[in-house]
Structures are given as C-alpha cells and as structure tokens.
C-alpha cells in the first residue's frame, strides 16, 4: 500500500582548510597545486616510525571561527583522538581526529526552508590519495601523500533537513560561509569539499526518528546531492510500501546513471578503537581567546544584507546575490554610502546591478558606477512580464503599424516605443524596452 512519507536527513560535510602548512607538520598544504606526487611530504605526514604530530594552531583557530559563525558553542577543553583503521592511503593506520570533545557543537545554519541544527564541527587530518593506474602494462595502485595530513573539518548536522532542495541550499550556504571566512576554497571537483547525507523516510503523522538510515557518501556536487536524495526517497519509499525496511548501509552515488548503489552494510562497519592521542596534549582554551576570535570574525553576509536593508534600503533579494567575499562587501558598502550622500536610490542601484543593466567589476571606482547608473536615466523598475504584456497589447491594437513595420518601415519602432510607455504609464529603461520590442515585433 502506498503511504505518504517525509524526508529525515542530516548531513556530514568535509572541507579542507587552506592553511599555509599541513595539520600536524610543516609541509606545504597545497595538494591540488603540487606539480608531482609526494613532494609535500615529511616523516610526519608519511607516518614514518618515530615521527610525531604537532597541531597547527591556525587550523584550530579557523575551526573555531567557523563554529562561531554558525552560532556554535565552543569546548574550552578539547583534545585529539586516534581513529584506528587500515587503508593504504592512511600511513599511520590511524587518523588523528576528534571523538567526544569536538571544538564546536550546538550551532545553527539558516536556510530559506528553515534552520538546520549543527551538531558538531571537529578538526582532523585528510588522508593520502590512491591512484589506480596502468603503468607499463601492469595495473598498479599508487599512493600520493601530498594530501596526507591536510587539515580537514567535518560539519555534522541534526536530522533537520526536510527536502532535497533544503539539503542543497544548506550545503551551498555552508560553502559560502567557509569561503567568506577565507578559511577554505571548497573546490568540489578536486575534493576540497565532500558531501555525505544520512537519509531516511518517516511516515507522515508518525513521531520520532525512523529506525534506519542509509548514508550516501562521496558526493562532489550540490546538484548530485539533490539528485541522490531524491533517488533515495523514491527507492526507500518503494521498500517501505512493500512493508520492508531499507537496510542500514553506506551507499555511493553513480553520477552517470544517476543512482545510488550499496557499498557497505552495518555488519562490517568498522570499530575505530578511538582513544585520546597521547602524542598531542589536550587543548585548554580561554574565554578571552574565544572572544578575540569573535572580534576577528567579519560581519557575515546575512547580517550585512539585513543592515543594508535598514541603512540603505537595499532589498536582501538583491544584496544577497551581489557578493561572496568580504572585500566585495566592503566595496559595495562604499558604493551605497556614496549613493546615499548623493541622494540616489541605493535599492534601484542594486537592482540595476543585479539585472546587469550595466557592466561593472569590483575593481571599478564607485564614482564610475554611479555615473553609469545615472546614464540609465531615472527609470521606474518594471517587471519583464508586465512590460511584455504592455507590448503585446500595443501591437494587438496597432495592426496597421505592425504591417508597415514588417514591410520595412523600421522607424515605426519609435511609435511602438511611445505607445508602450503611455500604456505602462511609467518611465522604463529605454534599452530594455527597445530590445523587447524588437524581439516581439519580429515574431
């Protein structure tokens, strides 16, 4: 029998931090820029006998900064733990991670579909990379340790995500914040940011969490994330409709076929034998230190947009699309202040910039932008749909003129232009109107 279900989804996102050096040694943190394999390596990140880790302070600071940006609480007493497992890309046979005392916990990230609770953010080291290649006719597995011990943060959410679209927006917002804080590049294709979703369905009207979950791992695009969740929802609904329970398992995403596929079941899930890494002293942080980091935190995009709405009257639907870096926000702020001083409408300015009424770059002088804006004329903003409706009406009422226009009297364009303006009763952007008119008249 077919029932109605709703999605119960939490996400785990890994992102590499772009510190100068690696997480536990002085090697250069540049796995994607390295010209050759295994050049950014040393006894520590190669896991040589006797080598010891020393924690990268910057990486710890940045992890906490992200936590503060996501309204997390910070553990003043924290530590690193060993996560023991065997894999050829893990040279020590354990990954230094954080188990029960992550740096950050209990935060929230807002999406347009509602808030997503942040369970925890912890800091760990990335692994090396395996390359399966055919060399001189032999199938070989090669290991590149350039990425070994690159600082990696894991952001885990509560099962608050209610739709594939929300999952996508959550991940995008998270990427934007990490980039805005300038702590990671989040290059999805290179693996600088990796997405995992825990997906299950609950019957509508039933309280509590479902009794199972499947984990879809190693997704490297937001779109695939959305598709994978959609696919899982259909797949799991079919099983549930047949009175089954989807097995607890890890699944991969096949981008070519657009499907998920089983990788590992719970029965062979690893026991990681976590224990505090005795090579790294526990970390005691002070309120003072956290406050210093808070003070360094830039004003975040959401806050900036809200402030601009109040101060300059710029609608957030425009401002939220206008910048992705602090330097860009600073530039825009200068522009709006200047516009305000000259009694210009900042919201209209923002709107014309978003709608690409004129070209600009963040290197331009704000004065230049205002000049371009002025050249547009003091026009009213009219939606394309309204404009189109008016044009169609004018054309329909002037069949003669249309016939003449089509016969070659193109100067009649001005006639249509004036008629449309009258019809609208507003001053519109001439270039925009002319372009639309031409399109419609030649139909």
């Amino acid at each position: 029998m077919k029932k109605d279900y709703h999605l119960v989804c939490g996400m785990e996102v890994h992102a590499e931090l772009k510190t100068e050096s690696k997480m536990f040694c002085g090697c250069k943190n540049d796995p994607f820029g390295a010209k050759e394999p295994n050049i950014h390596t040393c006894p520590v990140c190669l896991g040589m006998p006797g080598a010891l880790p020393v924690a990268n302070k910057k990486a710890i600071e940045w992890t906490i900064k992200l936590g503060l940006a996501l309204n997390c609480k910070i553990n003043l007493f924290s530590k690193f733990d060993r996560k023991n497992y065997y894999y050829p890309d893990l040279p020590k046979a354990y990954q230094i991670s954080q188990y029960d005392l992550p740096f950050c916990y209990g935060g929230v990230l807002e999406t347009s579909f509602g808030p997503v609770g942040i369970t925890r953010i912890h800091l760990e080291e990335d692994t090396g990379k395996l390359l399966h290649k055919n060399v001189d006719g032999k199938d070989l597995s090669l290991i590149d340790f350039n990425r070994s011990s690159v600082p990696l943060i894991e952001i885990v959410t509560e099962p608050d995500i209610k739709s594939p679209e929300q999952a996508k927006e959550y991940a995008k917002n998270l990427r934007d914040i990490i980039r805005y804080l300038d702590i990671g590049d989040c290059d999805m294709e290179q693996g600088g940011m990796r997405l995992e979703a825990n997906i299950s369905l609950q019957e509508d009207g039933v309280e509590g969490l479902p009794s199972y979950k499947t984990e879809v791992k190693n997704i490297n695009s937001f779109r695939f994330m959305e598709q994978a969740i959609k696919f899982e929802m259909e797949r799991q609904a079919e099983i549930l409709d047949a009175n089954g329970i989807p097995p607890q398992e890890t699944r991969g995403w096949d981008a070519k076929k657009g499907i998920t596929f089983a990788q590992r079941t719970k029965e062979d899930a690893a026991d990681y034998r976590y224990f505090p890494d005795p090579d790294l002293a526990p970390i005691h942080l002070t309120e003072e230190f956290i406050n210093e980091l808070k003070a360094e935190l830039p004003e975040l995009p959401v806050q900036i947009c809200e402030r601009w709405q109040k101060v300059f009257g710029v609608e957030t639907r425009f401002s939220s699309l206008m910048f992705s870096l602090p330097s860009e926000a600073e530039w825009l702020e200068k522009l709006f202040v200047l516009a305000q001083n000259k009694n210009l409408d900042s919201n209209k300015l923002a709107g014309s910039m978003v709608n690409k009424k004129f070209s600009f770059s963040f290197n331009d002088e704000p004065e230049e932008i205002l000049k371009k804006f002025a050249e547009l004329g003091q026009t009213d903003e009219v939606k394309d749909d309204d404009l189109l409706e008016a044009i169609k009406k004018v054309i329909a009422n002037n069949g003669d003129a249309l016939a003449k226009y089509k016969a070659g009297q193109t100067q009649l364009l001005n006639f249509f232009f004036g008629q449309t303006m009258r019809e609208l009763g507003k001053k519109v952007d001439a270039a925009q109107l002319r372009k639309l008119l031409e399109t419609e008249l030649s139909k």
């Binding site: 006797g50 080598a51 010891l52 020393v54 924690a55 090579d279």
Partner: protein, 458 residues
C-alpha cells in the same frame, strides 16, 4: 684500554690534549670486535668513521656513544630489534640523535633491545638476547639491555636508552651502571619508534651519575617537533653535582612489600649513607605498586596496538608475519581493550588509576624532597627466565612503573654488589616533575659516598 674511561675522565684527557677522541673510538671498536660476538649488545655498528673530526670544542668531543636501536639514526639501520624493520634505514634523525651529533657525540652503533621495546630482558629481541657482562649466565634486563650491557662492558663511553616503565633503570640496575630516566617531556620523543607514547622517555645510561648529567645536557630540551616536550628552560644538569644534601628529606618506599624482605634490608642499610650526610630518612607507605601493573598493561598495550598499525606490509618491506610472539600478543590485547564497549572498562579506567598514582606522589612530595626505592625486586635473572612468563617485565619493573606512568624523573645507581655472582642491585631515586636536579644531586652524593660504582676506584 681507553674504553674503560668514564665520559668525564675522557673529556678531561682530551681537553688536556693527553688523548684524542679517535684513540678512544679505536679502543672501543676493538673491544666491541672482541666481545660483541658473545654479548650481542650491538645489532649494527657505524662503519662511518668520518664523523670523528675536529670536535674538540664540542661538549662530547667526538666520544663514542651507543644508541638504542629504537632511536632513528639517519642512514644507519634502525630495527627496534624486529625483523619487520630488518633493512630499515631512516631518512631522518631522531631529535636526540641529531642533538647527540651536534654535541659532538659519535654514534658508535645501535644496541639491542626487546623487540619494539616490549620486555625487560632483551629476550624478545628477534636478533637474539644480550648477555649480562657482569655474569654471562644472566640477563641484562631490558628493554634497553643492549645499551646497559654496552656501558657495563666498556663497549662505549656512555649510551642512550629509552624508558616506558623501567626500560632504562631496570637494565641499569641489573648491569651495575647508572640509568637516568628524565621527566616525561624533558627529552624529545621525535624519531623514537613509539612504544607507549604517553610514557616513552629517552635518557642516558652511563658509568657514573656525573656522566649521565653530561649526556642529559646534550639531549634534553624543548623540541618543536614534539608537542609533549616541556617549554621549561633546560638547566645545566652538571651544576647539581657535588652538592651538599644536608637537611634534605628523603622518603623510602616499597620496603614493606612481601617477598622483598632480603633486598629491602640491603636498601634500608644503604640509605643510612644519607643520614650520615645530614639528610633525614623515613620509611613511608606509598600507594601499592601492584596496581600499576594493570594500569601499565592496559595503557601500554592499547597504545602499542595503535602505534604498530603502520607496519602493515605496504611500505617497510617485511609484512606483519614478521612480528614476533610478544608483539602479536600485545597488539591483540591492546586491540581488545580499545574495542567498542571495552574502552571504558579498560583504557579509561586505567587512566583514572594513573591519576591516583599522580596524586599519591603529589601527597608524598609535599613531605619529602625525593623518594627512594629499589629499582628492581632482585638481582638479574638467569637467561631464559622471561620465556613463557607473559608478565615477566611487568613484575620486574613493578617498583619503577608507578613513577613512570606518573611521568616522574628517576635515576638508578648501583647500591649493592654480590661478590659471589658479581651482580648488582640498583637504588631508584625519584623526584617531582622536572626536578632532575634533585635525583642528580642525591644520586651523585650517594655514589660518591658509597663503594658500589665499579669505575670509581679505577
């Protein structure tokens, strides 16, 4: 026979231009040639003689120092006495190897140990046991048995060892030499093949307390490559030699333990030396050291199982089948105690008991400047004694284990010589964290006011 010189005497003679380091190195190498076949103190010798150059102005002046084979030495084979690393030549120097070289020490060779430092006899070495030079029917102790034997047999001028729980002090006691286990974090562990990371402490094994202080000067200090090393300033450890110990308060512990009656009598007789020097001596009860066996067994096995994971057969030539019986035993036990559901019961509980020891020492050190016990419950055991005895090391190390897991510094100095067997007992002097000054001061005073040091009257 320049190989029988103490480090201090050798340094003095070179300073006075009476001798060169090369002459001493030659004599040491000749003695190794003669005796190592039987003793098996060294696993690998340094054929490279070019390191002996113009080192007159360095603290160690080019003198030959033996280095335990779990300490990485660049381009010089380092096996940790396990055939898993049979042909492993490290690409880097351990910090203490580099420091030793920078101080003008000449690494004459790499000494035998219990494989991966698992043991207290050298009998778990996959390259055969070392014999005790004082009596060839007996064991040298371990795990730094090769270093202690090399010092006792004058196959070097001094040596480096490492201690996790007794591995410097116990073989030093059995071989009748001086072994100084520094505070955890005083000497860098970077490049020391990890056994139990939370207690590993490298330190000197030498002929006299003075020699140990000189060698400690060379290897101690903060290391940016080891986050657990102390940021505290490194003092000149030789400045604590020849000091008055009048007025010091000394507590003697573990003398009430069952089965130790005979040796405890010797110790109680020997501590009278301190009373003559004006110190006050009291016997006092400390937390029962037996619990430390459990703590150490759990913590050490757990850490071992994780530390040895990297020898998975992919990168070091020989695969896991090359692990010896003892290592496999410990990996299995450690894996079990760290497993889900058991970690709380074992590892975390052990850490709590460890804290109890730390607190017990704190309490005792409020009253006493140093604490003294025997280093080992008895004389060196006969060869073969460890075989079939799974807890051999833990029992032999019981008296130094609590202070090891608490991270305290300690020194073992010879405090008795049995004429019949030619074997020694060691006195273990312990002090609070970072107070090596106290163990050196008290150890030196004892050594100079007793007759047990075999180099003193030479």
């Amino acid at each position: 026979m320049l190989n029988t010189l103490t480090l201090k005497k050798a340094l003095d003679k070179i300073s006075k231009k009476e001798l060169t380091a090369k002459q001493i190195v030659d004599d040491v190498k000749a003695e190794i040639e003669k005796k190592n076949g039987e003793l098996n103190a060294y696993l690998t010798l340094n054929d490279n003689g070019t390191e002996i150059g113009n080192l007159e102005d360095t603290p160690l002046k080019g003198l030959p120092i033996a280095v335990k084979d779990n300490i990485c030495t660049r381009d010089l084979r380092t096996t940790a006495s396990s055939t898993v690393l049979d042909d492993f030549k490290p690409q880097y120097d351990a910090t203490i190897s580099a420091k030793l070289k920078n101080a003008g020490g000449y690494i004459v060779g790499k000494t035998n140990l219990d494989a991966w430092a698992h043991g207290s006899s050298t009998e778990t070495s996959q390259y055969g046991r070392t014999l005790n030079p004082r009596n060839l029917e007996h064991l040298p102790g371990g795990s730094s048995g090769g270093s202690a034997a090399a010092v006792a047999a004058d196959l070097c001028i001094a040596a480096l060892g490492t201690e996790t729980a007794g591995s410097i002090r116990q073989p030093s006691a059995w071989c009748g030499v001086v072994g100084l286990k520094p505070t955890y974090g005083r000497c860098s562990r970077y490049g020391v093949i990890a056994m139990a990371s939370s207690t590993d402490s490298p330190g000197p094994i030498a002929k006299t307390v003075e020699d140990a202080a000189i060698l400690l000067n060379a290897i101690a200090g903060h290391d940016p490559y080891d986050g657990t090393t102390t940021a505290e300033e490194t003092p000149d450890f030789t400045s604590y030699l020849n000091q008055d110990i009048k007025g010091m308060k000394i507590g003697v512990i573990y003398t009430e333990l069952e089965g130790l009656e005979d040796v405890s009598k010797i110790l109680l007789d020997q501590v009278k030396v301190f009373e003559k020097l004006g110190a006050t001596v009291e016997t006092v009860k400390a937390m029962d050291p037996h619990h430390s066996i459990g703590v150490y067994t759990i913590v050490q096995r757990g850490e071992v199982s994780s530390n040895l994971g990297r020898f998975d057969g992919i990168r070091y030539g020989n695969d896991r089948s090359y692990f010896g019986h003892e290592a496999k035993n410990r990996i299995m036990l450690g894996t079990y105690t760290l497993s889900k559901g058991y970690a709380d019961q074992y590892y975390n509980t052990a850490q709590k008991v460890r804290t109890l020891y730390i607190e017990d020492y704190k309490r005792l050190f409020e009253k006493y400047d140093v604490l003294i016990s025997l280093t080992s419950p008895g004389f060196a055991k006969k060869i073969g004694a460890s075989e079939g005895s799974a807890m051999f090391g833990e029992l032999e190390d019981m008296l130094v284990e609590p202070s090891s897991i608490a991270g305290l510094p300690g020194i073992s100095v010879p405090c008795y010589h049995d004429k019949e067997t030619n074997l020694y007992l060691g006195m273990n002097i312990m002090a609070p964290m970072y107070r090596e000054d106290l163990v050196i001061k008290v150890g030196d005073a004892y050594e100079k006011n007793s007759n047990w040091n075999s180099w003193r009257n030479k």
